[in-house]
């Protein structure tokens, strides 16, 4: 209420100032209920309105909602008053990566690790149609474990120069990290421009100074435009090759994300992406073994080890699966469904052998099998580690079963694709029907278009498709 308490919306207690810029101030804050630390970016609405960026900000907020990645700073929620907008974000403890580099160049293996994490974050966002457009040192933070976190993704409308304290930073708005096509103000491909910036960042990590530097701004532009830079003598041949392909001034011939990730320099010592449990704001830890047993058997200690192939559904379980009960439709989230279920008129043994057959064909490892629950894992490294899939069989009657499929880890888009293109077709002959689906599936959105008049100011809020 009053400034003295510094409590926002009865939810966040504001703490110290973390940083400040033209449009925004960033404060440390604590969630009063959970105790969690967050960073709150407070933006002056007046200033934003003046430069006409308000629509862009709205769009970017909707897009950021789809981004959950271990190396991207998460946007939790936004709040607003008449005069201010508040972005509540993940708080990252360790400060900027470039505080490290300012003490001197990094060892090659350290630089590579940060670069791998950077590329993993940027590639993930690109797969969701989000470009950063302003990758630079100030936006690379380190958490308490020394892992990279990219901040301000999708919030490029608010991009600005925060620091002017050193060569590595974008001094006085010089475009040291910006791709030539951006400088030239041609219509450009944001993803390609991000790749260029990643190249400059990698160079700086390995060298301790910028690839394009000149006291004369025009001269610097010229060097960037020609991709004119030199390698220090300690740059190994393989990283020189990679950097030459990234810092290609022609965006059309510049190396792609996929090719960067295939390069031998990049692949060396590649760690598995950190698996995060919270990606979809799941309410219960899906991977905690025994949770399942606790739910279905009413016995929190003993996991299901009865000889029955799967668990029975009681009458209330059965009715709780009604699509009329699923209010997610109100939020237009049908594409983001967490679980899919189908009924089958086949006995459990047939369903199980079908699942096993699919696993063999798609090379999914069965990591665990317990009372009708199959924990499966993909063999390929995905964007967020191998896919984890839970398939669980429940008995309605001995001749009718319900099977629930859900992602337990990995990249949501990769999961949806696998499910749609491989798993669902393969299950065809054991599926009686898929829960909550119309006999002739209607294209989401199309029906609404026919039945409701358009009303401006609302349609723009519809979340963009994740495809």
């Amino acid at each position: 209420m009053e400034q003295k308490g510094g409590v926002l919306m009865q939810r966040y207690e504001l703490g110290r100032l973390l940083g400040q810029g033209t449009f925004a101030k960033v404060y440390h804050a604590r969630n009063i209920i959970t105790g969690m630390s967050v960073a709150i970016k407070i933006i002056d609405k007046e200033k934003i309105l003046k430069v006409g960026m308000i629509d862009q900000i709205k769009r970017e907020i909707s897009v950021m909602r789809l981004i959950r990645h271990p190396h991207v700073v998460e946007l939790y929620e936004v709040m607003a008053s008449k005069t201010k907008i508040y972005f509540v974000m993940e708080y990252v403890k360790g400060g900027e990566l470039f505080n490290k580099v300012s003490k001197g160049k990094l060892k090659q293996d350290d630089a590579r690790r940060y670069f791998q994490q950077l590329i993993s974050a940027v590639d993930y966002c690109h797969s969701r149609g989000v470009c950063h457009r302003d990758l630079k040192p100030e936006n690379l933070l380190l958490d308490e474990n020394g892992n990279l976190k990219v901040t301000d993704f999708g919030l490029s409308a608010l991009a600005e120069t925060k620091h002017q304290d050193g060569l590595l930073h974008t001094t006085c708005g010089t475009p040291a990290y910006v791709a030539p096509e951006v400088i030239n103000r041609r219509g450009y491909d944001g993803a390609k421009a991000d790749i260029w910036s990643c190249g400059v960042i990698l160079y700086v990590l390995l060298a301790g100074f910028l690839p394009f530097r000149d006291s004369n701004l025009m001269e610097m532009y010229r060097k960037i435009g020609r991709g004119e830079f030199k390698f220090p003598n300690w740059f190994a041949p393989d990283v020189r090759r990679l950097l030459s392909k990234i810092l290609d001034p022609n965006p059309k011939t510049r190396i792609s994300m996929a090719k960067i990730m295939e390069s031998s320099w990049f692949k060396k010592g590649l760690e598995k992406p950190t698996i995060t449990q919270n990606e979809d704001e799941e309410l219960a830890p899906l991977d905690a073994d025994g949770v399942f047993g606790a739910c279905e058997n009413g016995d929190p200690i003993e996991p299901a080890k009865n000889s029955k192939p799967c668990n029975n559904l009681n009458a209330f379980d059965i009715i709780s699966y009604s699509s009329g009960f699923d209010l997610s439709g109100l939020f237009e989230e049908t594409d983001r469904k967490k679980e899919e279920r189908f009924t089958s008129d086949k006995p459990a043994s047939i369903i199980i052998s079908k699942l096993e057959e699919i696993c063999r064909r798609l090379r999914l490892k069965v990591k665990k099998k317990d009372g009708g629950l199959f924990k499966l894992e993909g063999s390929k490294e995905g964007r967020k580690g191998p896919l984890g899939i839970d398939a669980e069989i429940f008995e309605i009657t001995p001749v009718f079963h319900l099977v629930e499929l859900k992602k337990s880890s990995g990249d949501t888009l990769e999961y949806q694709k696998l499910l749609k293109q491989e798993v669902r077709p393969a299950l065809k002959d054991i599926v009686w029907n898929w829960q909550g689906e119309q006999p002739q599936p209607l294209q989401h959105g199309v029906v609404q278009k026919e039945e409701q008049p358009s009303y401006p100011g609302i349609s723009e809020v519809v979340p963009q498709s994740t495809a």
Binding site: V78, T83, I318, S320, S328, G329, T343, V447, V461
Partner: protein, 214 residues
């Protein structure tokens, strides 16, 4: 920006309540209530442009089909419609969704589910009601089970839940049954409500909330 939104600001639809008041009575912040209002405006004008959610609009949102009838959707609509006047007003929408908030009290969720299943509002879930609901779900899923099988399922559940054996499930028995089977109220929590402000960010421009009300 469309004229609809800017002109309606002062003359809000029937049942509109101030976000600050709704926020104080629910787990939502003022901003979350305002984001819900963006959603509400969309839902409540999808067929009849009167700023109230009618049954058809509710069905359209849930099933992408305004004519699809569903026993459980009907029950939820009726429970949301606190004033029982056939439409869901904004205040009713926010208060009822509050129960589905991840931070809402478990107790409230359990009670809401009980009222949902107490089809005839007798204060008990009767055997007949449970059977009716099972039949409705099976029908919805195109499952045909013999009457014997359905009876077996209902009997089994009743023998587990109806502790005092009086042929109906009361509130306490329901609570005990849910605590043994917590997955039964999974539907009572909507994770979407947690990032509602990111899904409907237009309120950040429209809001009239003073700094002092934050």
């Amino acid at each position: 920006m469309g004229c609809y939104c800017s002109t309606s600001k002062k003359t809000e639809a029937q049942g509109y309540e101030e976000p600050t008041i709704l926020s104080s009575e629910t787990p939502f912040t003022v901003s979350e209530v305002e984001a819900l209002h963006e959603l509400y405006k969309k839902l409540s004008n999808s067929i009849v442009e009167d700023g109230l959610i009618h049954k058809e609009e509710f069905q359209l949102a849930l099933f992408r089909n305004k004519n699809k009838k569903n026993l459980f959707a009907d029950r939820i609509f009726d429970l949301f419609d606190l004033k029982r006047n056939g439409v869901i007003e904004f205040g009713e929408f926010v208060r009822s969704l509050g129960v589905f908030h991840p931070n809402a009290a478990l107790e409230d969720k359990i009670t809401f589910a009980f009222r949902l299943y107490d089809l005839r509002q007798t204060g008990f879930i009767e055997r007949e009601e449970l059977k009716e609901m099972v039949l409705a779900l099976l029908h919805e899923s195109d499952l045909e089970l013999s009457d014997d099988m359905i009876e077996t399922i209902v009997d089994k559940t009743f023998s587990d839940a109806d502790i005092n054996g009086d042929g109906r499930i009361d509130q306490d028995e329901w609570k005990a049954f849910v605590s043994k089977h917590p997955s039964l109220i999974k539907n009572m929590t909507l994770p979407y409500l947690k990032d509602i402000t990111l899904a409907f960010p237009s309120f950040v421009i429209r809001t009239d909330i003073e700094e002092s009300e934050m």
